[in-house]
């Protein structure tokens, strides 16, 4: 018997046929939930099923959606990032404060806003890989530090007024549908989806989350990739900050408060496992829309924000319970 390998790349035709259905692989359960929600709100309100409202929902979820993309990577490698809400705040303050205080040209401030997020993410990654802090603690400290820094910039004051071309990115709907910021979210989602599904590096993230030791022994640069994933999460928080600034035409140091938990919830509703190794962008996007549609629909029905919090909590519990049971079955 010879075991000499013959690396044949003979593709199985069935695999090709499956690839269309697998676009949503792992996200079917959450998708059914989302559809059910839409049906319920369509039946109980007149406004829900209008293009205008649909675009509203999409507009409202972009910031959370962009954060959740980064969070998906972090959760897939078995980590957690509690700092994205605070990083968003610091980045958004950098964007408002630098031009106002030091006359930094706005495009440069925009670049620095995004890079600030990336820098915070790198620090998170180094705390996890070099200082060997548990991800929970590392990002908890960053959550506190970044929020503090955000307040320090303007002593807690908000900054108002951005260039018109910038706010137009969020408000002007091209072809009546797509604002630039929504387009950015769509592009980033597609990019992340392709990366996690079809890039060797993306596949490695799943291995790291499945078992960091197995991955390391298989020659995957676990530490390098871990830093990169946290850096990407921070960078996306910086991008989300810019999107939020354009939408609101202002910067507040209290921006993004609690967003990290919404982002984690979206990823988990989307079928990811907090113990790592499982998760998908398709699931996360569905999770983001479940949260967005819930907020929107409950508002339309006229349910108070307090009750909304209760409902969302229950939805997360139900979604994750179903998912756990389905996996066991």
């Amino acid at each position: 018997m010879s075991l000499q390998p013959a690396l044949s790349a003979k593709a199985i035709p069935a695999a090709r046929r499956r690839s269309l259905a697998s676009l949503l692989s792992g996200a079917q359960g959450p998708l059914i939930g989302l559809v059910l929600l839409c049906v319920v709100f369509a039946l109980t309100t007149n406004v829900f099923l209008t293009l205008r409202n649909a675009l509203n929902v999409v507009d409202q979820v972009t910031t959370l959606g962009i954060l959740a993309l980064g969070m998906t990577g972090v959760i897939i490698i078995g980590g957690i990032d509690l700092s994205v809400g605070s990083i968003l705040a610091l980045s958004i303050m950098v964007l408002g404060w630098l031009p106002q205080q030091y006359g930094v040209p706005f495009p440069l401030a925009l670049l620095l806003c995004i890079l600030t997020g990336g820098l915070c993410g790198i620090v998170n990654g180094l705390l996890v890989t070099r200082a060997r802090l548990p991800a929970f603690i590392a990002t908890l400290t960053m959550m506190s530090v970044a929020r503090g820094l955000a307040n320090i910039t303007t002593d807690g004051q908000q900054v108002v007024g951005y260039p018109d071309w910038f706010t137009a990115l969020a408000t002007e709907r091209h072809l009546g549908i797509l604002s630039a910021t929504v387009g950015l979210f769509v592009a980033l989602s597609l990019g992340a989806w392709v990366f996690l599904r079809y890039r060797a590096t993306g596949r490695s993230l799943y291995a790291i989350g499945g078992s960091a030791e197995v991955a390391r022994l298989a020659g995957i640069p676990v530490r390098k990739l871990t830093v990169a994933v946290y850096a990407a999460s921070g960078l996306l928080a910086g991008v989300a900050a810019a999107v939020m600034a354009a939408r609101l035409d202002s910067s507040q140091p209290s921006a993004g408060l609690g967003y990290e938990l919404d982002a984690i919830a979206a990823v988990v509703i989307g079928g990811a496992s907090l113990s790592g190794g499982i998760g998908s962008i398709a699931g996360t996007v569905v999770g983001v829309f479940i949260i967005g549609v819930l907020h929107n629909g409950l508002n339309l029905v006229g349910i108070s924000p307090f009750i909304q919090q209760v409902v969302i909590g229950v939805v997360i519990a139900v979604a994750v319970t179903f998912d756990t049971l389905r996996r066991k079955a």
Partner: protein, 491 residues
């Protein structure tokens, strides 16, 4: 009267019978040494006596009355103490709290620390350990922790102590101290079952010696004054009918040469050997000899303090698994579930792991490429499973084949397998032996670590023996009898 009697104790796990009708008596104040190779059934016997596992059949009696412990707690109430090889102490609690854990003395609704510390102190002093009972266990030497364990068992009223490899982590002086205490306790009527690999200790401490082999009690010596060679023959026995594949002679070309390799963590020192193309190089030794640490260091998984590895004449960068893999050194690790496969991922993903560089084109790794690659390997190595099935759903033998298949696909130069058949049934074993023979026939240098002596001798062209991190000898197959290897391994 016997303190503990076993009659016809039998235990099976699935189709494998690990204990066949064991009869054993332990008298008052007696130390019975229990010998046997890894897997002979010693641990199972200890678990049955200490209430961790019930026997399938057979009876036990304790001081004349029927004894069938329902739980470890039940066994402790009867007067049995099990001192594990790895300590089971709570490192951040004080010594006294560890001694009294689960039954802290109370007074007026509060823990009576004064009483607890006094009682623990008395016991520790009696055992010759002079430390404050209120200090935390963390930071105590292994020998001291062992004494805390013994003190704990004694305050629980133990009259039979099972010591599992108690000297494995002790130096010579500490061993002698332990023996002095054992003798004192024996004089007070405490009985012992003493599990050890170190044959030279037995003569010093044992009253009687029993030997287990493949779950059978094969010898009982009523004195400890038994020649070591006799004990070795008892332990190793005649070759059991195992079928090993025909091995072709190796070439003369050395593929990998290791010189002066010393572990950064102190697990092994100054190891040097070379493995030729087509050679199966076996590494034998008892648990804790440093075998796993050595092969992990060769595969770049653990850091190395000094030494060199050359591969076809070129030096290898040490301590980097990715570098070792790139250069053609692969490791099938001992801990299959923890280090070999990602249990919740598919067979296909597990096979692609470590092969991404070959399967991807400009960084693109397409699912259909992975599936096709996996189907081919699954077929080639006879893995009983479909590529999309999760690794968790496979038997141990098939999981092992997945790990082997992953590396076979790379056509490496050095193939290292650490305990390749541990916990694997006989059928899958034979298949793995065939794979090992085929790897060697393909001209790879194959390194096999195994605690199963038959396996090492059945497969290897050359056998290296390690003991306590030192290289005890490199023997060609003709010179490597099982008795000779065990002599070196237990020296």
């Amino acid at each position: 009267m016997a303190r503990l009697s076993l009659r016809g104790i039998t235990k099976s796990y699935g189709a494998v019978t690990v204990l066949h009708g064991i009869d054993l008596d332990v008298r008052d104040g007696e130390l019975v040494a229990l010998l046997g190779e890894n897997g002979a059934g010693k641990s199972t016997l200890s678990s049955i006596v200490s209430g961790l596992t019930p026997p399938d059949s057979g009876t036990m009696s304790w001081e004349g009355a029927p004894y069938a412990p329902a739980s470890p707690g039940d066994a402790i109430r009867h007067g049995l103490g099990l001192i594990h090889q790895e300590m089971r102490l709570l490192p951040d609690l004080s010594i006294a709290e560890n001694v009294f854990v689960g039954r802290l003395p109370m007074r007026n609704g509060a823990i009576d620390r004064a009483f607890m510390n006094r009682r623990a102190g008395e016991h520790l002093r009696a055992l010759g350990l002079d430390v404050s009972p209120s200090r935390p266990v963390r930071g105590l030497s292994v020998a001291a922790q062992q004494q805390v364990e013994i003190a704990k068992a004694l305050t629980l009223g133990a009259r039979l102590l099972i010591l599992d490899e108690p000297t494995a982590a002790l130096g010579l002086a500490e061993t002698q101290q332990l023996f002095a205490q054992i003798r004192r306790l024996k004089a007070e009527g405490v009985s012992f079952i003493y599990v050890s690999h170190r044959l030279e200790e037995i003569a010093q401490i044992a009253d009687r010696v029993v030997v287990l082999r493949d779950g059978h009690l094969v010898a009982t010596h009523d004195t400890a004054q038994v020649p070591v060679s006799t004990l070795l023959r008892d332990m190793v026995g005649r070759a059991i009918d195992r079928i090993f594949p025909e091995m072709r002679p190796p070439s003369d070309r050395a593929v990998i040469r290791i010189e002066g390799l010393t572990s950064a963590a102190g697990a092994f020192r100054d190891i040097g050997f070379s493995v030729r193309a087509g050679e199966v190089f076996g590494i034998a030794g008892i648990v804790g000899a440093g075998r796993t640490e050595l092969v992990r260091a060769i595969a770049g998984a653990d850091p190395v303090a000094s030494g060199t590895i050359t591969l076809d004449g070129d030096a290898l960068r040490l301590g980097r698994p990715d570098e070792a893999i790139r250069r053609g050194i692969v490791l099938v690790p001992e801990d299959r579930k923890g280090q070999g496969v990602v249990l919740d991922h598919s067979i296909a993903d597990n096979l692609a792991l470590g092969n991404a560089d070959r399967l991807s084109r400009r960084g693109w790794l397409l699912p259909e490429t992975v599936t096709a690659f996996a189907s081919g390997l699954v077929q080639r190595l006879g893995v009983k499973g479909r590529p999309e099935q999760s690794a968790r759903s496979l038997s141990g033998g098939n999981q092992q084949k997945v790990v082997i298949a992953r590396w076979v696909a790379r056509n490496p130069r050095v193939f290292i397998l650490d305990e390749p058949t541990r916990g694997i049934d006989m059928g899958a074993r034979a298949a793995i032996y065939d794979v090992i023979a085929a790897l060697a026939a393909d001209g790879m240098a194959v390194i096999v670590v195994s605690s199963d002596l038959e396996e090492v001798l059945g497969l290897a062209h050359t056998v290296m023996v390690l003991a306590r991190g030192r290289q005890m000898g490199v023997l060609p197959r003709d010179a490597a009898s099982n008795v000779r290897v065990m002599e070196l391994a237990t020296a």
